[in-house]
């Protein structure tokens, strides 16, 4: 397979973008990535988007975005895997180039959530409609169930979960693209409104509009490229049951574990070699479980791992330097691409006030539903 690299990245500001449409934000991020890469054309466009149909009543997103980007008639299509749509778009872009079918691919992710009639309903379509959602469960509810089971079995505390939110807001305060750019305290989290016990409002990622884009190309082109670029050395996706109740162990996210193992193997690295990671902290408990599944810490110790500061900006393995889904925001279909944009910035020394030192290998982990899809990518600078 051919080597694949990222040579340019772009983002919109994340947040409630009332004055902008889905096409505006996609094109803004895409133009920024194309300009950053300095390319004069792309061979193909892949758009990660969870639910244009339910959020803005617009399907057929691929061709629409190609048009508004002035790129008709290049092939352009949308890929969907719930909140992992962005990660899957990146994986698909990599596959196009690795196979030799394309040389330069624009991989974008976009979601315009604030236009929706019923956001809770749209998000819930990522779960089993007939046997879960039918009974009145919500996405905070799924992760609350994981949290209760994790607390019971491993002694994970309410406070440890709150620490994830505090850390990610602190990182978000250093990110000009983040939806929330202010620090919060443990008390803010612990006293916020209960949404689904034990999770409170400040354990949850917000509703966000936003877009992210990457320009991918073959290794041959990247090596001649004037800017610093980053190669993708690991890429994998795994799936699990859509229904949480069909899983043998509700304290685990097996697909995260399996996708990480596959990506480590492809990249020929161990978890200890990862210098910086962007992971799918849709709820605080998710980041704790993901730490365990990625092999950063042993099973059951994820709470202690955050408490001891290992994942802080100045810690051994900084996690969600961008602010994560919690503070940077979570425009669902854009998230997987935005995670890779942050790693690209970190590995090329462009992460501003949140830049970590000596970043050698970066990892992204993007998840759909309550872990029915998980996508992991591993990156290394040239």
């Amino acid at each position: 397979m051919r080597e694949v690299a990222i040579i340019g990245a772009g983002l919109t500001k994340f947040g409630e973008l009332w004055d902008k449409s889905i096409r505006d934000i996609f094109v803004e991020a895409a133009l920024s990535a194309i300009k950053d890469a300095g390319v004069d054309h792309v061979d193909s466009i892949i758009v990660g988007n969870m639910s244009g149909g339910l959020f803005v009543e617009q399907e057929h997103i691929g061709a629409l975005m190609a048009d508004y980007l002035g790129q008709n008639p290049v092939p352009a299509y949308r890929v969907e895997s719930a909140c992992a749509s962005g990660g899957v778009a990146l994986m698909q872009g990599l596959r196009e180039i690795a196979s030799g079918l394309s040389d330069i691919v624009l991989v974008g992710g976009v979601e315009k959530m604030t236009d929706a009639e019923d956001i809770t309903f749209a998000l819930a379509t990522a779960a089993d409609q007939e046997y879960e959602v039918y009974h009145g469960i919500t996405f905070p509810g799924f992760y609350a169930m994981i949290a209760n089971a994790h607390m019971k079995r491993y002694g994970t505390t309410r406070k440890q979960m709150a620490m994830v939110a505090v850390k990610n807001h602190k990182n978000g305060s250093l990110n000009p693209y983040a939806q929330f750019q202010s620090e919060i305290t443990l008390d803010t989290v612990l006293n916020s409104t209960l949404v689904a016990d034990p999770l409170r409002l400040m354990d949850c990622s917000p509703v966000t509009d936003g877009a992210a884009a990457l320009v991918l190309c073959s290794g041959d082109i990247a090596r001649k490229h004037k800017n610093s670029s980053v190669k993708i050395i690991g890429s994998s996706m795994t799936t699990d049951t859509l229904a949480l109740h069909l899983r043998e162990d509700v304290t685990s996210l097996k697909s995260v574990n399996l996708s990480a193992k596959k990506a480590y193997k492809m990249a020929e690295i161990t978890p200890e070699e990862v210098s910086v990671a962007e992971v799918h902290d849709c709820f605080t408990i998710a980041e704790i479980v993901i730490m365990e599944e990625l092999g950063f810490v042993e099973k059951g110790k994820g709470g202690k791992f955050i408490e001891d500061g290992y994942t802080a900006l100045e810690g051994k393995i900084p996690v969600n330097t961008s602010g994560g889904l919690k503070a940077k925001g979570h425009p669902v279909g854009a998230t997987g691409v935005a995670q890779a944009v942050e790693i690209f910035f970190q590995l090329t020394g462009r992460a501003g006030k949140r830049q970590i030192k000596n970043a050698k290998i970066g990892l992204t982990q993007n998840m759909g539903g309550s872990g029915a899809s998980s996508v992991v990518h591993i990156f290394k600078p040239y």
Binding site: T120, H135, G136, I137, T138, M145, A196, D197, H245
Partner: protein, 129 residues
């Protein structure tokens, strides 16, 4: 929710009808066409046990639109005595009484309704034993 969409699931929602793989014995609820364990496509019809224990739970405080007025309500994953796990609400209980590991029994209840003129949806809930 369209009427056929609701009607199709009645055997499961009203009677806990499931399929047991004739080769490996794995039980599937809801039914499916191929065993995910041994890939066999031959099953026998069974009904699930109506008692079990709480694997995990939450209390929904911010409900989906069609459950407005019902919150707060508990939702749990229950492992029935035949080893099959299902999700549903726990009814007739105070949130403080609910704990992981507690025994429950399946009951038949109204789940939701489709507005003032639409159909009423029924199914299983759990009560503490």
């Amino acid at each position: 929710m369209s009427i056929p969409k609701y009607w199709r699931e009645i055997p499961q929602r009203y009677r806990l009808e499931a399929l047991k793989c004739k080769k490996c014995g794995k039980i599937f609820f809801p039914p499916r066409l191929i065993c995910s364990n041994c890939k066999t496509q031959e099953f026998e019809n069974i009904r699930l046990k109506e008692e079990g224990k709480i694997v995990t739970y939450t209390i929904i405080r911010v409900p989906p639109k069609q459950f407005n007025g019902q919150a707060p309500y508990p939702v749990a994953i229950v492992e029935l005595d035949d080893g099959v796990r299902i999700m549903g609400q726990i009814t007739d209980a105070n949130p403080e009484e609910i704990e992981i590991g507690k025994k429950v029994r399946v009951v038949f209840r109204k789940i939701q309704e489709q507005g003032h003129a639409g159909i009423i949806n029924y199914g299983y809930k759990f009560i503490l034993k």
